[in-house]
Amino acid sequence: MSLNNRNLYRKKARGSIFQGFDPILTGAVVALLIMGTLLVYAGTRDWYAANGLDPQYYLKRHVINILIGALLAWGTTVIDYRLLRAYTPIVWAAGVLGLIAVLIPAFGSTVNGAKAWISLPGGFQIQPAELAKISIIVGISMVLSERTHDSNEPSSSDVIQALLIAGIPVIFILLQPDMGTIFIISASVVTIIAVSGAPTKWVVGLLLVAAIGATGAAKLGVISDYQVKRLQSFVDPNADTQGSGYQLRQARITVGSGGLLGTGLFNGPQTNGRFVPEQQTDFIFTVAGEEIGFMGSGLILILLTIILIRGFTIARRTSDPYGRLVATGIIAWFAFQIFENIGMTLGLMPMTGVPLPFISYGGSSMFANLIGFGLLQNVHARHLA
């Protein structure tokens, strides 16, 4: 039954521009993009209007971002990703260059204590760390799937190579610093290495290093003041009424006040009063929580879960090791970013500035998410076992 279906899609899709599109994955992503658009609008409309600005400012830009992202997704779906594999070194190097550029004062701009953005003429900004995630995933997937010797599994030297490929960009992100992205990248890298079939000692070792590194970083002061404050306020949200603890508390109250059904889209007093900051980007889930309630925000969680499970299915079914690792990396990235973002909003995770995939406003992140989505489709379309 399922085999027949798959063949059906392949036949139908072949030769059209929709070639390879997985209807479940695509349906979930489109639904999230629509909900995200409405939430971005709801999160900015009243505040912008009240301050005499264009209430549709963010709405318009968000739609443009989605359209550009859709083109990128389509592009990454239709090209043969083996071609991408050939260009992987260039993609990786471009990612690292972007991360270096951010740290140069002439290019980089500081937002919320982190140098994460490159300002472009015309008021546009790009966030290289978002795109670096893709570079790292395709980079280490390539190294770990290449078989130069008899073994069917990556050797220790392959793993070391992979760690270097991931480590160099991570060092530059650490300098920004953007702890949320590092957490997501690290988790994705460990996941890819584990799924690559690398020796167990590496997997266990890396998990230990990650755990020690996280606690050590906080103790040694590698994490800057504002990050420690964010972590502390996670532990005691009432400690600091105006800083990050305030934001976490407000976020929780806003989500909780939505109740089962929510106040209705555009009708959330917490959202419209803008008691939660960054509510079109990092805290967009508060808008969902308040205005569309448990029914709506639960639906978002279900749609995100569908994407993740669908991704795992694609990774399991593909016959090509490279495609499997890319798919696994992308799913791990999405999963950990979703957990970090919503977990922060709900008070389960410390405060870090990462957007919610497919929902939050933000060009770089939207492009990266849709490229990731495109790659999943690509793997799905070309390498069924």
Partner: protein, 693 residues
């Protein structure tokens, strides 16, 4: 795909799905399980209540003359939203306002800050209301200043002048009545935390009748609830209710009588001072002996009840509670505790009758009585020979009582008391409810003390460590030979009633203390045939249209433990005090029959300047003797002789009450022409004038 890869992928998938389930669970908890809690939290973040105070009800006297009303003042107010949006946050404007009002800038600044905005020790004068309502900087601006503010709005942006309601005590008939009426003030944090539904920026009663009947007088403020955003800008209005004015309080006080009582008390203090007494404080009370209604009540020293609304300076506030100024805030009639001295002999008569002494017999009144090792002197060491008990009351013989009290003390076992000791004197005092509050409808009443056996045991338990280690614990100034000896005695048998304690108690000296109001209640009970009545100031709560909401009547709290014969004896004896006894001089030629008792209480201790404390001067009375209507008590602390200082003062009060001029009665000039306080309730109008003015 090898086995390990497959397994890893499954583990990762399970892990990821677990994370998503965790998020879903947490989301369910926040929104569904804990949703109501967060809804409340969100509401308190978004909503702000703007309170429009209700008009406070009037307090009027028994004929409707206003004692407390509302006056229109001109307030200069600040609009914080407007000030905060100015480039310097309103600093320049507030500076100009402070110069205009001749106030210091820091005062003006503080008055326009919410209390939460100021550091802990600098909150004085802060605004307890919300920032969305006009914040008054002063409520007493002159029309000239108000006009300047309104006309030169370009110079005073965010500042406005508006009429506001002020609580005002008009002082009709020249009354002060500060302790009776109390005053109003802003709601405090403690009020807000209490169960009563207070709102920020409301004025509430602080003391006196204003606090006692606050729930009726206050009314219900109008509430406008607004929804604000993070910048505190109003986004919409969610609720709007109109204020409901407060109800009025009709009291039993008569303004003309109150004024006369205040003057008589002030005059008594003046006379005592002229005679070299310190006369640091005093009280005078007139009570209806048949209903318990308080017709007038004065406390000395006093203060201007309007000073609170005008805004007290720090010095003014301190002076209200300063020992040097005599603590004007203290209401002597019900908060001051004093030894009753010879006025207490009425209680001793009841005790003696209970102990079986024949009230119609004669007793010795020597110059002194040997009690154990000590000789107790008669007042001014005068020997009166053998006299009737009635005569003994009239001339206020002490030694007669020493003898009886000493005999009874010995009969009760002396220092080895019997378990079934009669304690006639203590039980008579308890029968008069000396150790209970009168239950008057005024706050913070003090409780008198009957130093009986139990009290002494409790006292000893608390103090024996001090007295048994007196050398080390007492200050150098307390190490006089007399005090050291006293401490030794207290340590030895301070838990027992000693002979000295027993005989002192019989003449109202030693450790027995009571409030002037309590003594008034006791003499009213003697006058009315024995009923102990709860004194009341309030008579009724009425709506503006006259509808009665609540009638206030005092309870009968009990009756004094005296037979009709004993009470009749007291009536005769107390009448003789005035006709041929210690008060005869003060009341010579007075045309109305008055009964009473003088009291001159010795006070142990010294004043701040080192001088020995003067005696407390008492006169407790009722009149007319044949059919009593009023009990009148006056007390002057450190006032000298009761017979001169206080009895003369009480005579002046009776003169007003009955319309006496010299030795003639002009019934038309009496406060209550038909001889009784009015029972009908008056109509309420702020414009009601004092009769005869």
């Amino acid at each position: 795909m090898n086995q390990r890869s497959r397994l890893s992928l499954v583990v990762v998938q399970i892990f990821v799905v677990t994370l998503m389930v965790a998020l879903m669970g947490r989301l369910f908890y926040l929104q569904v399980a804990a949703g109501p809690k967060y809804k409340d939290a969100a509401l308190s973040i978004q909503s702000r209540d703007v309170i429009s105070p209700a008009t406070r009800g009037l307090i009027v006297d028994s004929s409707g003359v206003p004692l407390a009303l509302n006056r229109v003042g001109l307030a200069i107010t600040a609009d914080r939203i407007a000030l905060d949006s100015q480039s310097d946050n309103g600093v320049a404007v507030l500076g100009r306002v402070s110069r205009l009002l001749k106030l210091s800038y820091s005062d003006v600044f503080r008055k326009t800050r919410l209390c939460g905005e100021l550091p802990k020790n600098q909150k004085a004068g802060c605004w307890t209301g919300s920032r969305y309502q006009p914040i008054p900087i002063t409520k007493e601006a002159t029309p000239d200043i108000a006009l300047q503010v309104v006309e030169r709005s370009d110079e005073y942006p965010g500042i406005d002048a508006t009429p506001v309601a002020l609580r005002n005590y008009p002082g009709n008939a020249g009354i002060n009545a500060a302790h009776l009426l109390g005053y109003v003030g802003p709601v405090t944090e403690a009020d807000l935390a209490s169960e009563k539904k207070y709102f920020r920026s409301e004025s509430v009663g602080k003391t006196g009748l204003e606090v006692q009947y606050d729930q009726y007088l206050r009314g219900t403020p109008g509430i406008r609830t607004v929804i604000v955003d993070r910048k505190e800008a109003i986004t919409r209005e969610s609720q709007n209710s109109q204020p409901v004015p407060g109800n009025h309080l009709i009291t039993s006080v008569d303004s003309r009588l109150q004024s006369s009582v205040e003057n008589a008390l002030a005059d008594a203090v003046r006379r005592a001072k002229a005679m070299g007494r310190k006369a640091d404080s005093g009280a005078a009370i007139v009570m209806d002996v048949n209903t318990g209604q308080i017709l007038a009540m004065a406390s000395y020293p006093t203060y201007d009840p309007n000073s609170w609304e005008k805004g007290l300076t720090f010095e003014q506030a301190a002076a209200l509670f300063s020992e040097e100024t005599g603590v004007p805030a203290l209401s002597r009639p019900l908060q001051g505790l004093f030894a009753p001295a010879s006025t207490f002999k009425s209680v001793s008569v009841v005790a003696a009758a209970a102990a079986g002494y024949d009230l119609n017999k004669s007793y010795d009144c020597p110059a002194q009585v040997q009690v154990g090792t000590r000789a107790f002197q008669n007042f001014e060491s005068k020997a009166q020979g053998r006299i009737s008990l009635k005569r003994g009351i009239a001339v206020s013989c002490d030694t007669l009582w020493y003898q009886i009290a000493f005999d009874e003390w010995l009969r009760d076992g002396g220092l080895k008391p019997k378990s079934d000791a009669n304690d006639y004197f203590y039980s008579a005092a308890r029968g008069f409810q000396v150790n209970q509050k009168t239950g008057i409808d005024l706050p913070s009443e003090s409780t008198g003390r009957v130093p009986d056996r139990q009290w002494r045991k409790d006292w000893y338990a608390q103090n024996k460590n001090f007295y048994c280690d007196y050398k080390n614990r007492a200050s150098a100034a307390q190490q006089t030979p007399f005090l050291v000896e006293l401490a030794r005695e207290n340590c030895l048998d301070g838990d027992k009633i000693r002979a000295g304690d027993a005989v002192n108690f019989a003449i109202g000296q030693g450790d027995v203390v009571l409030t002037p109001l309590k003594l008034t209640q006791m003499y009213a009970a003697i006058a009315n045939g024995g009923k102990i009545l709860q004194p009341t100031v309030g008579k009724a709560i009425v709506k503006t249209d006259g509808t009665i909401i609540k009638k206030i009547t005092g309870k009968t709290l009990g009756s004094i433990p005296a037979s009709k014969a004993t009470i009749n004896f007291l009536h005769l004896a107390l009448r003789e005090v005035v006709t041929a006894g210690t008060a005869a001089g003060a009341f010579s030629g007075f045309p109305i029959a008055v009964s009473g008792k003088t009291g001159t209480a010795e006070v142990f201790g010294k004043n701040a300047n080192g001088s020995k404390k003067d005696n407390t001067a008492w006169f407790a009375s009722y009149a007319p003797s044949e059919k009593p209507e009023y009990a009148v008590v006056m007390m002057v602390s450190q006032g000298g002789f009761g017979a001169s200082t206080s009895a003369v003062g009480v005579r002046k009060i009776y003169e007003t009450l009955f319309g006496v001029k010299g030795s003639r009665v002009d019934a038309t000039k009496a406060i209550f022409p038909n001889g009784k306080p009015p029972t009908d309730l008056p109509k309420i109008s702020p414009a009601t004038k004092v009769k005869g003015s």
